[in-house]
Structures are given as structure tokens and as C-alpha cells.
């Protein structure tokens, strides 16, 4: 089949060879280690704890939730005593209120766990409830609650359910391993999603640099008429939601809109497996596959971790760092978009897809020089922006022009900075200005709302 793709983009060195052939290994937290369950691991309303300090919690027990629709409950991945509820550092650098559970290593499971559901006899609402009550969110990185995504407005019929198996981030191989080792689970999960949207076609999009995954998934889909495997050109950011949709369907998601507006739902491989586990095995989201790799790691590989373990626990469990080549930089996720960590004492969350440990040599960032207007950033920006110009607006603090020239449409993929021969921090400056401008926009909207309400109260 012809490999599809989008316009522009970049070809970073992929670094996947370090961990691609390492089968997924299960690692369990040590006895008496503390696991942290932050109250916000998704887009939407943060959860409130359902347990108090001193309570005993079991594996699979719901320990936090929110009444809001746009939210997702949180489950304990171990059994043990709640020892504290306090702010904890999460990847990305925020301190988030977290429930701290001390692992008793007994793995006592909560009643009713492992109760299989027959989704073919369930109503759509029951399926969505089951997914919501399993705490499933987008595991690719954004953490969008899956039950919300699967339930788009009625006026937006869904034509495609796309499985994002591009895994375009260099170094990450967790989705690849899942496709090789749990291909039938991915297909079953997709079938559940297709039950909700019977008129949609299921497409699994995989980059051409993973021929074994394409083969495995094609085999797993054999005989299923509404699911196909679509090879994609190996190019970054092929796995960006908007660009995946464009590659496969040639539809453009409009600026500021969600995929459903283009008739598409996109979910990552591990998310689909989480859906499958929720229905077929009755297990909420408590673990995920994570790639721990980079030149500083002794045993780079793919590990099934208990969500809530700290990065330090994980690194210890897999054999630690190389003594002669210690890490100089830690990245949560892939090297193109993952935020850096300043410490290993960070809680893993539902969206932790990788821990990348770069040696001093790998972490080297060259000095910024003058922009020479070579236009490489313009030639490679997958969104069709002019990054060098946005960089100038960012430096000048010219928010008005930044917004006018579509700075807020930047997807922060980093293609511009990657290509820049002057080594400018284009993506970083644009991200910072986006935050400032988005904040201003929100403040202006809030002010307008308040003014409108005040006017209403007067009349």
C-alpha cells in the first residue's frame, strides 16, 4: 500500500535501535516504596481524593474522582496505606496535590476487579461509562479523557477512528512493542470503539520504519472488514493528531477545532489497549508501557510500570545508570517534545510514555547565533507558520503581531528548532509567548463575561 503523509516536517535521527528489540518487561514497585497519585493526570477538572490519610487502599480501588464530565478518575495501582496527601512534582514541572500510598507489596485487589463485560450486548452509554470508570485517557501525551473523545456532539458524525501508531518521536518504542506483543488487544480495543460508531472505518496508521509492526497488525486485522492498516511515511511529526488525520483522510482540522469536527477520532495504541482491558478484563488504568532509554541507561528497554511510581524507582528497578557515563539531561517523553526533568523524584502519570536519559554528549545544545533568514524553519513547519518571524515577535514581546501571524496555532513540535542552522530556540520562545498570549486571551474573556454579568445584574 502507498505510504501516506503530510506536507513539510523533518527527519530527526530516530535512536530507536537502543530499545526497539527489547520485549516489554513488567516491573513492580518495591515493598515500602511510596507511590504518588496526582489529582490531575488529564485535560479537564482535577479530581478530589476519595480516601483519607490512614486509609487502606487496594489495587484497582478508585481513590479520586471529579463530578465534572470533562475529567477522569484515578485508581490505586498497588495496595497499602495512604500515608499522606501533599503536593508532588509531575513531569512538566508542576506541583500537583497527590495521594501518597505506601506499598505493602501484597497486591490485594479490590472486589469486583477482573469482571469481564460483553461489549457486544452493551449499550453505547454502558460502554462509555465503563471506559470512564476505568480512568482511560489519551496515553499518547495529551491525556484527553477518552470517554469524552468517544462521545462527540451529535452533529459531528464520525467517519474514521484512527489509531495513532506512528510513534514519530525518536527513541520511543513502547507503542511498537505493544503492536508486536499485544496486537490482538489493539484490534479488540478498536472494535469496541467501532461498536460506538458503527459507520466509521478503523484505520491503524503506522510509520514505514516499523515493518514488523505493520506485518503484525495486518495479520491481526485479517478478516475484519472495517479495519485496515495504513503505512505512513517516516517523518516527524507524523503522529501529530492533525497531521495523522490529514495524511490518512486528506481532511484538515480547522484551527482551534477538535478532530471530531473533521469526522475523526484519534487514539494512541496504548489507549486502545486500556479500553480493551477495561471491557474484556474489567481492569482500570493502573499501568502503562514506558520506554526508558538514552545513552546513560544501563538497560534501555520497554517496561510495563505501575502508574504512580517515581522515575527514581523505575530507574532503580531496571538497573540504574551507567557509572562511567551518567545522565546530564532527563526528558519525560521523546526528545522532540518531551519536557526536561530537574530531578528523578517525579511521579509517573497516565501520560508518561518515556524517560530519556541523555549523556552530556547527547545533551549538548549549541550556542544561539543570528538568524540568517535561510527559511529552513518556514520550509519545514508542518503548520505552515513562519517560525523565525514569530521568534522575533516573541523576543520583542510583540504579542499582537504574534497572534496575528498565527502564533497560537503552533503545535510546539520543534521542527523549526531542529532544522535551524543558527541553532535558535525558536520552539521554546514561541511556546513561552503562546502561554502569555493564551493567558491574556483567557483573562480578556473572563473580564468580558464579568462585565456582561454586571450589566445583566444592573438591568
Amino acid at each position: 500500500m502507498q505510504a501516506l503523509t503530510f506536507k513539510r516536517g523533518v527527519h530527526p535521527p530516530d535512536g530507536k535501535a537502543l530499545s526497539a528489540e527489547q520485549p516489554i518487561k513488567v516491573i513492580l514497585p518495591k515493598e515500602n516504596s511510596e507511590l504518588f497519585f496526582p489529582m490531575s493526570q488529564h485535560i479537564g477538572a482535577p479530581c478530589e481524593p476519595l480516601v483519607a490519610v490512614g486509609d487502606y487502599v487496594k489495587v484497582g480501588q478508585k481513590i479520586a474522582e471529579s463530578p465534572a464530565f470533562m475529567s477522569s478518575p484515578i485508581f490505586s495501582s498497588i495496595s497499602g496505606e495512604v500515608v499522606d496527601i501533599r503536593p508532588m512534582l509531575v513531569p512538566g514541572g508542576n506541583m500537583v496535590k497527590a495521594i501518597v500510598v505506601k506499598n505493602d507489596a501484597k497486591m490485594v485487589e479490590v472486589e469486583g476487579l477482573n469482571e469481564a463485560h460483553d461489549y457486544t450486548t452493551m449499550s453505547n452509554e454502558e460502554i462509555l461509562n465503563c471506559i470512564k470508570n476505568a480512568g482511560v485517557v489519551g496515553l499518547g501525551g495529551a491525556g484527553f479523557p477518552t470517554h469524552v473523545k468517544l462521545n462527540p456532539p451529535k452533529d459531528q458524525p464520525i467517519d474514521y477512528i484512527l489509531i495513532n501508531a506512528a510513534e514519530c518521536e525518536p527513541y520511543l518504542t513502547c507503542d511498537y512493542r505493544i503492536m508486536l506483543e499485544e496486537s490482538e488487544k489493539v484490534v479488540r480495543g478498536l472494535q469496541i470503539m467501532l461498536k460506538l460508531h458503527p459507520n466509521a472505518k478503523g484505520v491503524i496508521g503506522i510509520e514505514m520504519n516499523k515493518p514488523k509492526a505493520i506485518e503484525a497488525m495486518t495479520k491481526a486485522c485479517e478478516g475484519i472488514s472495517n479495519i485496515t492498516v495504513q503505512p505512513l511515511v517516516t517523518k516527524f511529526p507524523q503522529g501529530s493528531e492533525k497531521h495523522l488525520i490529514y495524511s490518512i483522510t486528506k481532511r484538515e482540522v480547522k484551527s482551534g477545532a477538535l478532530p471530531a469536527s473533521a469526522g475523526c477520532i484519534v487514539d494512541n495504541v496504548d489507549t486502545v489497549v486500556a479500553i480493551e482491558r477495561a471491557l474484556f478484563r474489567g481492569r482500570p488504568l493502573m499501568r502503562r508501557v514506558m520506554t526508558v532509554t538514552g545513552g546513560a541507561v544501563k538497560n534501555p528497554g520497554n517496561y510495563k510500570i505501575r502508574i504512580g511510581m517515581t522515575m527514581r524507582d523505575i530507574v532503580e528497578a531496571i538497573g540504574g545508570f551507567k557509572e562511567d557515563n551518567p545522565p546530564a539531561k532527563l526528558i519525560a517523553g521523546g526528545p522532540m517534545m518531551g519536557p526536561t526533568l530537574f530531578t528523578l523524584d517525579v511521579a509517573t502519570v497516565k501520560t508518561s510514555s518515556g524517560l530519556l536519559c541523555f549523556t552530556a554528549q547527547e545533551a549538548f545544545i549549541p550556542e544561539e547565533r543570528n538568524c540568517i533568514r535561510c527559511a529552513k524553519c518556514v520550509d519545514h513547519c508542518p503548520m505552515g507558520l513562519m517560525p523565525f518571524m514569530l521568534n522575533q515577535f516573541a523576543i520583542r514581546g510583540d504579542g499582537e503581531n504574534f497572534v496575528k501571524h498565527h502564533g497560537l496555532d503552533c503545535i510546539e513540535c520543534g521542527s523549526c528548532s531542529f532544522e535551524c542552522p543558527a541553532k535558535r530556540q525558536l520552539a521554546q520562545s514561541i511556546r513561552a509567548t503562546k502561554k502569555i498570549e493564551a493567558g491574556k486571551k483567557a483573562a480578556a474573556a473572563a473580564k468580558a463575561r464579568a462585565a456582561a454579568e454586571a450589566a445583566k445584574a444592573k438591568s
Binding site: I365, I372, R373
Partner: protein, 319 residues
């Protein structure tokens, strides 16, 4: 306590660098420079060495005096120096490349903010400055190798065209123009060497095909349509004068050419139109440098009106 580097994304970078790009431009210019030495003798080499050395020196001097970081290792000054030399006759007095380099580096480049900030091509600005200040020295063309051995100076093919001396480009004329054994500036006469260097830059993704191809094609089509004195020899017109040097190496200067694909095509069209008009109807025999300089001034405007459509752009509501 752990100590880790914290930085913005992305954490991997391409191997490209400014120095690498400038090195590629120097490599691209090498065939034409060698042909210049072959055609015009050792004096061409001396002019090139003086020009490059003084360009680097003035960049160093300015940055030292202004207490700015010294960036001569990025090779951009060397490129400017070489381009300036290639835009001069081999018989120019040795002080001229020094004066030209000083103008190019200090006035056209550094005063506007240095690398990437110059709004016109520094080498061309210096050439225009020298041409206006020392017109005789800048338009006295030494005889090329293998031709008119007894002559002190010769006329350029474009001057001959202007005078109506060439009405049919014979195969001999064509070969001379391709190889470069005609009168002209050091680096502009050998069309074949410039094309080889230009193709190298395109293959290495240093420049795009748009500006050179559209520029040369525009001149070809317009001279074919307009002709001069009723004679139409566009295949000869594009080989002579500074067109190849200008199209591949001068109009493609990053700082003074548009960044958008459409903008680059517009700039090249403008250059081609102006070059043809100056050559055929203007007072000068050659119009490449002035047409590029004029289009340089239009670049901010062109960039503003050719911003690409963003991915997922909202349709404009028609009211």
C-alpha cells in the same frame, strides 16, 4: 542532589550550521573562481585573496571595536569577500577590493546588525559603490586567455550586443560564453562553472531552485520576446554578463531574499524583468546587480504579502 540540564524542546538538533552553509557556498563558488584564474591569470587570484582577507579583517575590526562577539569563523565574511572579488575586473588596482570590502562589511552588513540583518546584498552594494565611484577602473576589462593576446582591454559580450556588434551568436561565441573566455568580471564569465556550483548548492539544499531557475527563465523568455534590434538570441543572452553569478549566488542571499516560496518566485520574476529592461533599454549594458539590489528593497513587502496559508486555516467568511 541531582544536577540535570533543563532546557526547552527539542533536545536533538540537525547537523546544519551557519559555518557549514557558508562553506558550501565557498565550495559552490570554487569552479567559477578557478575558471576566473585560468581566464584572467594570476591577478584574478591576487584580487580574490585581498578581497577575502580584507572582508574578514573588517568584520573582525568592527566586532572588536564595538565589543561584539567575534564571528569571523562562520565564514560569512569570506563569502562576501569572494563574491565581491568575483564582481570585479581582474585588472582592478589592489586597493579597490579593500575599499569595497570595507563598504560591504561595515556599511552594508554590520551597521544594519550584522549577519542576517543586511537588507541588501553586501557584495553587490559594494560593487555598486565602486562602480559609481571608480567607473573607469570598474569597466576596463582585461583580455581573456586565448583571445586578443595583443589587446590591453576588450569589450564584454553585453557591450558588443548593445552596440549591435553581435547579431548572430555563432557556435564559437556560445562556446566562449560557456567556458568563460570572454571579457568581464573575474567570476562571471564562465557560465558552465557557475551552473556546476549552483547545482551543487541546490543539491545540498543550501538554496532552492526557485530564484535561479525563475530568474534565468524570465530573462530567456523576455529577451526572446523583445529581442534587440530585431535580433533574438536568448540562448546567448542568458550565458553572458553577470546573470549566472547573480541568479545562483547573489539573488539567493538569505538575508536579502524572501523566505516564502511564492515570494522567492516573485523576487526572481522582478529581477528577470528589471535585468532585461536595463540590458535592452537602459543606459548600462548590464543590469543584474542593480535589478537584484532593487528587488532586495522589495523583500520585506514581498514577504508580507506572500505569507503561506497555515494548516487548518479558517475559511474567511464572506459577508
Amino acid at each position: 542532589m541531582d544536577k540535570f540540564i533543563v532546557s526547552g524542546t527539542p533536545h536533538v538538533r540537525s547537523k546544519d550550521s551557519i559555518q557549514g552553509i557558508m562553506r558550501d557556498v565557498l565550495i559552490g563558488l570554487t569552479p567559477a573562481a578557478l575558471m576566473g584564474i585560468y581566464v584572467f591569470g594570476i591577478n584574478a587570484l591576487v584580487i580574490m585573496v585581498i578581497s577575502i582577507a580584507s572582508a574578514i579583517f573588517f568584520e573582525y575590526l568592527y566586532q572588536k571595536l564595538m565589543k561584539k562577539p567575534i564571528t569571523i569563523t562562520d565564514l560569512s565574511a569570506a563569502v562576501t569577500g569572494l563574491l565581491l572579488a568575483m564582481n570585479m575586473p581582474a585588472s582592478a588596482p589592489y586597493w579597490m577590493p579593500i575599499v569595497g570590502s570595507a563598504f560591504a562589511i561595515i556599511i552594508a552588513k554590520q551597521l544594519f546588525g550584522g549577519l542576517g540583518q543586511n537588507f541588501i546584498n553586501p557584495a553587490l552594494a559594494a560593487r555598486a559603490f565602486l562602480l559609481a565611484s571608480y567607473p573607469t577602473a570598474m569597466t576596463t576589462w582585461p583580455a581573456p586567455a586565448g583571445q586578443a593576446v595583443d589587446a590591453v582591454s576588450v569589450a564584454t559580450p553585453l557591450a558588443l550586443l548593445k552596440a549591435g556588434d553581435i547579431t548572430v551568436a555563432t557556435s564559437g561565441d556560445m562556446v566562449n560564453a560557456l567556458v568563460g573566455t570572454v571579457g568581464g568580471c573575474i567570476g562571471e564569465t564562465s557560465a558552465i562553472a557557475l551552473i556546476i556550483g549552483g547545482v551543487y548548492l541546490i543539491v545540498r539544499h543550501v538554496i532552492s531552485w526557485r530564484i535561479p531557475v525563475v530568474y534565468i527563465a524570465t530573462v530567456f523568455i523576455l529577451t526572446a520576446l523583445i529581442g534587440r534590434n530585431g535580433v533574438r538570441i536568448p540562448q546567448y543572452e542568458i550565458l553572458v554578463g553577470g546573470l549566472m553569478l547573480g541568479a545562483f549566488f547573489m539573488a539567493t542571499d538569505y538575508a536579502s531574499s524572501p523566505v516564502t516560496p511564492l515570494g522567492q518566485i516573485i523576487m526572481a520574476l522582478g529581477c528577470g524583468l528589471l535585468t532585461t529592461l536595463i540590458r535592452i533599454f537602459g543606459g548600462y549594458p548590464e543590469g543584474v546587480s542593480y535589478s537584484i539590489l532593487i528587488m532586495n528593497l522589495c523583500v520585506p513587502l514581498i514577504d508580507r504579502f506572500t505569507e503561506p496559508k497555515i494548516f487548518g486555516a479558517l475559511e474567511v467568511k464572506k459577508s
